[in-house]
Symmetry: C2
Subunit: 137 residues, 2 copies
């Protein structure tokens, strides 16, 4: 989001200072599902983020070591983004958000199917998904 404005020492506040806006977690969501995304991939998300906002969020997330850039293996015109370990560690938060939302909204079927797996063995799911994300690093 913004650079180095720490509002307090509260862990919640510190976290929100980094990804507590309407867009950052959606970028992180996309990376958790797709593992690697280009700039254009993010723009395809249904929420329709504006290009300037996307650029500013990607920069802030990179500065905060949540994501990192890497070369696209097939093209110099493309940039690949992926999660760092710090970003991958947001997975439990992302899962709990999905579980909460499932309880209070109607959500897409494919997401429900995923959450069914989660509820069977949450720790196991997180471990496996983390490992999968790590394998791209």
């Amino acid at each position: 989001m913004n650079k180095t404005k720490k509002r307090s020492d509260c862990p919640v506040s510190c976290s929100l200072d980094i990804w507590g806006d309407r867009w950052s977690l959606l970028i992180i969501r996309d990376l958790m599902f797709a593992k690697e995304c280009t700039y254009g991939d993010f723009l395809k998300a249904p929420e329709r983020i504006a290009t300037n906002i996307l650029a500013s969020r990607l920069q802030a997330l990179e500065e905060n070591k949540i994501i990192e850039k890497l070369e696209h293996p097939e093209s110099k015109a493309k940039v690949l983004y992926r999660l760092t370990k710090k970003g991958i560690d947001l997975l439990p938060i992302m899962i709990e958000i999905n579980l909460w939302a499932e309880k209070y909204f109607s959500i897409p079927e494919d997401r429900k199917a995923m959450l069914k797996q989660v509820k069977k063995d949450k720790a196991g799911f997180i471990k496996a998904a983390t490992k999968e994300l790590q394998s791209f690093r």
Copy 2:
């Protein structure tokens, strides 16, 4: 946050539409710790929320059934806010945020002590804390 602007059917997006800003989760945090807060209590938080922002967030959270108002037992001049069940159910998200932050920031000692309890038995902690919050309803 804002009224009824649903950006997509994604559960993450729907959630952020409600509490995905820099302040809402801090209000919810205060209510999770204190159980019941007055307007003035929220203003005492170290992040120093502006009075107009606080009023607008409280209204939005109430409209979205995350919090509710009740009469103060001792004074008609005061208003008490507390979490609804929907708000209490955000507890697992709040805990995961704290756990993530502990890993990447230095956080206050008392919060560390709480997280020590969490790590001993996460499900048990959430159950007990939820029950405790429910007891105020």
